[in-house]
Symmetry: C2
């Protein structure tokens, strides 16, 4: 089996990267998951051009990662907020993995911490196999083709 | 504490996203980690324009994620290969998190599987707190400012 013979796009990494493999998109997801949910707030916090923010939010809504919710508050004009869908909330491990790598290699002191709501202790992603072994390093993980793999069509 | 008052760029997610928050970059890391290591092989497998591949590889080398290794094989012209540095290899959880999300939401059957070298069972990222609790859902994780957080300079 040679990886080069497998279709590059027929892959969960490629499909996920089509949706979240973009710097602004990752920062939007970070902000929305922390409660920065209005267009104007996102635009101000991220320093992103409004047309780019609009395009990224539209794509995230179209892909079922965010949804627009009408929001009414006394004394203010009704507006919309962006909230994570359940599918979007399941991207948390992607953000946690980026935090862990950025903390380790790009930051002196952790700018953010992920903690367990229940007890306040730090949360880490531990690669664990379904036989129950907690793995200690990347060398123990092997990526292999799955049942959904497809060969490149070289015609 | 309001997240909107914290500097958006002073953040491990932002710093990590500056380096890997790009669709092509994620696919390059996927391929290199699977042993597709030569420029021509990457170009053919990904179907990426050569100038874009060259720019992405150059940035990954500059950021210490990949390195170029001279490679000599009998009967072939000496060439270079791209290999993961130890820092690059530590991006594995980012790829595993994308695989898990893509498998769950974007693929019918898993195109790739991550398995434990030792026993062949599937590997999952389990969010675990340092007090030893394995968390069952994203709702149990809270992201809070860390010691390295910095307020926005609004001057």
């Amino acid at each position: 089996m040679n990886w080069a013979d497998l279709d590059s796009g027929h892959c969960s990494i490629a499909r996920a990267a089509d949706i979240v493999g973009d710097r602004w998109t990752l920062l939007i997801l970070r902000d929305v998951s922390r409660g920065i949910r209005r267009f104007d707030e996102l635009s101000a916090h991220l320093g992103i051009a409004r047309n780019i923010l609009s395009a990224r939010l539209g794509a995230l809504v179209a892909n079922g990662v965010l949804e627009r919710m009408p929001y009414a508050e006394e004394g203010r004009r009704p507006h919309q907020e962006y909230v994570m869908t359940p599918r979007g909330a399941e991207l948390l491990p992607v953000l946690l993995a980026l935090i862990a790598w950025g903390d380790r290699h790009l930051s002196e002191e952790p700018p953010v911490r992920a903690v367990h709501n229940g007890c306040g202790h730090e949360v880490r992603l531990v690669p664990t196999c379904t036989a129950g072994h907690a793995l200690t390093g990347g060398g123990e993980v092997q990526i292999v083709p799955g049942p959904g793999a497809r060969r490149v069509d070289r015609e």
